[in-house]
Symmetry: C2
Subunit: 552 residues, 2 copies
């Protein structure tokens, strides 16, 4: 039923996003921003030559002895395709032909034991190891610090692509880390199950990356964050194997799974995870609602998060994002029919002049997936709450439009960059009581910084993940290129990070830490917790070869 | 409304449990087990003299300089009341007059900063520090290893008893660690909120202990485990303060809260936690159901856990526990009216001859708390599932009887021990697919061991905590004293631990590790994870004074 299963596993080609066969045209608003600026199309990646691989022949021989010579590559194309991640600065660098951070070798292990063996070789030889599943990091998580090391390998886990076991009684599946999202979902759907994890990076990212970065998908209200789905995991370290998750929950000491989740490769390489699975949904409906203001919409989301019921997907766009969505013909915000069976109250939000009507206001998307009767019940109850909270029903049209277009966003970046328009996203999470202050602080910081660069930005914000005690805030920032877009964004990002921390929010909700958030992360957890994490790293990775410079 | 708020904070007096003003009489079945054995009443605790306090005057002066001389005690009574926990072996030792493990001093700090300062003094002076909130550990969590140290202090947190903050928007409360369960609940109920955490140790245990041991309460199906409620915490360590929990959820590295939760005092002392709170319930109903077998009942619970809706309390007793409950006049299992509004299907389980009727079968208690309409809806839907799964409605009588009697269990141990009957509990948790094998293995191990001791046991088992992927198993073991009850139970416990691990379950679901589960815990997490934890301890507690010998 679901379109997620129709999304193929694509061979993305850096620096561009997604399926190479698919191109995106700029929507009107974005094209207007680009104005008459000159095109800034990047260098063809096939023409980029990274610096010569610095690892010596003995390293390559040792690694080949583990995985076979066919599974080790120092070809330029492979190295370029494993260079950095997908943040806008990463993409800008590669578009400029800069592949200085390319790994020396790309290695494709075939199983967990080979990963352990490679980590041992790399410990002995002092070679940094970067785990690679989808390579979609937007925080510099694939750009290790080479200082003091003899080289860098990218450990591409694509051959670890099996569903190891499905436990239908316990409703768990054990998946190898190299499975990409669409492939994992397709394999489970064949058996009637779903993972329910659909991050914006879905086409590119993989299971190991989801776990290592605490990924959260668009359906987190219904299916939970990826870290909440993980029941067990296997970690390969230079010292051997750590296997965690004897039982779903336990009082047997600290929950060490939660120490490995979010560790971003610095303790070793996650090679498989046992995750919760659920019956594949048989019914689906996505409704759209309009609220008079972001604050009113946030209060409605809070009510659903605290008192239920939660839709499967729940998100709120601010006025700017709403206006741009509605300006997009595909977003078709003018349809005004209520949800088919939203209950007797479905019209109550009409006529107040605030909550709906054309123009203005804030869009809420509430999507429901599951068994038909359960979807109907949940939709009915949630719709009552939304109406009571001041929501005006916009019907299924814009809800479906959001759903079908929800993986299209990342495709817009490339034509924007081509047109000389900077676009980047950043996100945070805070307790409900701080949410509006955080949003205001981050918006002001970005506006001030980019305006000071001579490029006043367009800033959109949405809430896409809600919890009983708080919610995420996701910002999309668009501005014309300054003379040096890297410096332009670098300054804005520093300003945003400072604002996030100063307003009491976390430096990241689901993008992870990588290198870009490292300093702010250290500020967030404090020096003693950082020492504790470093001691864990020293214990499991005594030679410091596991993704050095990331996180810690 | 709820009786939990009527439970006073009592001054328990070891070795006996609970409110000293309350005595328990043995129910018929237990009295029959006791038979004509001679009474084995223990020593009056007021007559027990622990060994002389070994810490020197300088230590006492240093600590007094931090907390004031009035808040340091080496009186025999105080030391005896801080000796060990409440496991049956702990109680048997104290009943025999053995207070060899008494702390040298009992210290009552007044705030977080005093805790940090005491930890610094104790690091310098090499004095072990045992955090003490309720002192109800049943796994030896209060009995540190003195080897290489100059003494032991019990750090009683009773003066840290404030509600620091209630964030009504985010629905969180920040509570100091020394608040005992009933006091914390009462303070929140005054403002219209509940924590919803009611472990069997409720009368004795406190907030810090809940957090340090990953406590799970009887209402975990509705309110979650304590570790799931924690949004933030403050840890005092010998090196200073660790403060965690910037946001409800985040991708900012490993979830370090989950590294402190379950750490049982070995990294330091949790001094406050920020936890989720919910509106105090205004409606409540407890239903009882009978299933033909444990397996059938477990399948019903699994359906509720996997597809919902979950009651607030959900538990399944096996045939033996059910028979004993029903034999108890207070348990009154003969009432056969269905839930008042359990829906049209409420009688469908009748007449099949398996699921209900007098005698035999397995009792399920399903309790609901919340707002009236929400309780009615959830009860209706859950009742339909229970009926469909073969449950026969026993009505509210035995459900209410369970609810009102649910804190009475621990009071039975003292009269049983007085009568020469050993009683102890142990628990585990496993994935659903392994649950029945685990139950069989543990039951066999306990039966074999105790029978070999010449004391064939009575073994009861129940499921009291369910998850989508698994459930807890809680065993109550009753057997007449052998000549040496400590050795008798020691052998049985070793056998049970082995069976738990061999059958792929976790060594503890909610009792924690302490000393009693330490070896099995190390087996469960493996040597590399253990090294990682030890490295965290070395980082935060470099002199090794924080609850040494516990967990690690």
């Amino acid at each position: 039923m679901s379109d997620e299963t129709a999304i193929p596993v694509v061979g993305m080609l850096r620096p561009r996003w997604g399926d190479p066969a698919r191109t995106a045209e700029l929507p009107g608003a974005a094209a207007a921003l680009a104005g008459d600026r000159e095109a800034a199309a990047g260098v063809d990646p096939d023409t980029i030559s990274p610096a010569r691989s610095t690892v010596d022949v003995a390293v390559r021989e040792d690694i080949s002895a583990v995985v076979g010579a066919d599974h080790v590559s120092d070809a330029d194309a492979a190295r370029v395709q494993h260079t950095r991640g997908y943040s806008t600065p990463d993409i800008l660098r590669l578009r400029a032909g800069d592949a200085d951070d390319a790994p020396d070798l790309v290695v494709y292990p075939g199983d967990h034991d080979e990963v352990v063996a490679i980590l041992r070789v790399c410990s002995e030889r002092r070679i940094a190891v970067v785990p690679f599943t989808g390579g979609t990091s937007v925080v510099g998580g694939l750009t290790p610090d080479r200082a003091g090391l003899a080289g860098v390998i990218s450990l591409d886990l694509r051959r670890l692509d099996r569903v190891v076991e499905i436990d239908e009684i316990s409703r768990t599946a054990t998946l190898q880390a190299g499975l990409r999202g669409p492939a994992a979902e397709a394999l489970l759907r064949e058996k009637g199950w779903t993972i329910g994890h659909f991050p914006q990076s879905y086409e590119g990212a993989g299971i190991g990356g989801y776990a290592a970065t605490r990924s959260a998908g668009q359906s987190s209200a219904g299916y939970g964050r990826f870290d909440e789905m993980v029941e067990g995991l296997v970690l390969a370290t230079p010292r051997g194997t750590v296997e965690l998750g004897t039982a779903p929950r336990s009082a047997a000491g600290p929950d060490l799974r939660q120490l490995v989740l979010g560790s971003e490769g610095v303790f070793g390489v996650i090679t498989s995870v046992q995750i919760r699975i659920r019956p594949a949904p048989t019914a689906r409906v996505f409704d759209a609602w309009r609220f008079a203001s972001f604050a009113e919409g946030a209060t409605a989301l809070r009510r659903l998060a605290q008192d239920g019921p939660l839709p499967t997907v729940l998100r709120l766009s601010d006025e700017v994002e709403t206006a741009l969505n509605l300006a997009d013909p595909a977003g078709a915000g003018s349809e005004a029919s209520g949800p088919d069976d939203a209950g007797a109250g479905s019209g109550e939000g009409d006529g107040d002049g605030d909550g709906d009507g054309d123009g203005g206001g804030c869009l809420v998307v509430a999507g429901y997936e599951g068994a038909a009767d359960e979807v109907a019940r949940r939709r009915d109850a949630a719709s009552s709450v939304l109406i009571d909270a001041g929501g005006g029903a916009l019907g299924e049209g814009p809800g479906e439009a959001w759903r079908t277009g929800r993986f299209a966003g990342p495709y817009l970046r490339d034509p924007l960059l081509d047109a000389g328009v900077l676009v980047e996203t950043l996100e945070t999470v805070a307790f409900w009581s701080r949410l509006h202050d955080v949003r205001a602080a981050v918006t002001a910081a970005l506006t001030d910084s980019l305006t000071a660069s001579g490029t006043p930005p367009l800033i959109m914000c949405h809430v896409s993940h809600v919890y009983a005690s708080g919610a995420s805030l996701y910002f999309t920032v668009v501005a014309p290129f300054a003379d040096d877009p890297l410096a332009q964004w670098g300054a804005a990002k520093v300003a945003a990070n400072s604002a996030i921390r100063a307003s009491g929010a976390s430096i990241t909700h689901h993008h992870a830490v990588g290198r870009d958030h490292r300093d702010a992360y250290h500020d967030e957890i404090g020096p003693l917790a950082l020492d504790a994490l470093r001691s864990v790293k020293a214990s499991l990775d005594p030679d410091g070869v596991c993704n050095p410079g990331i996180l810690l």
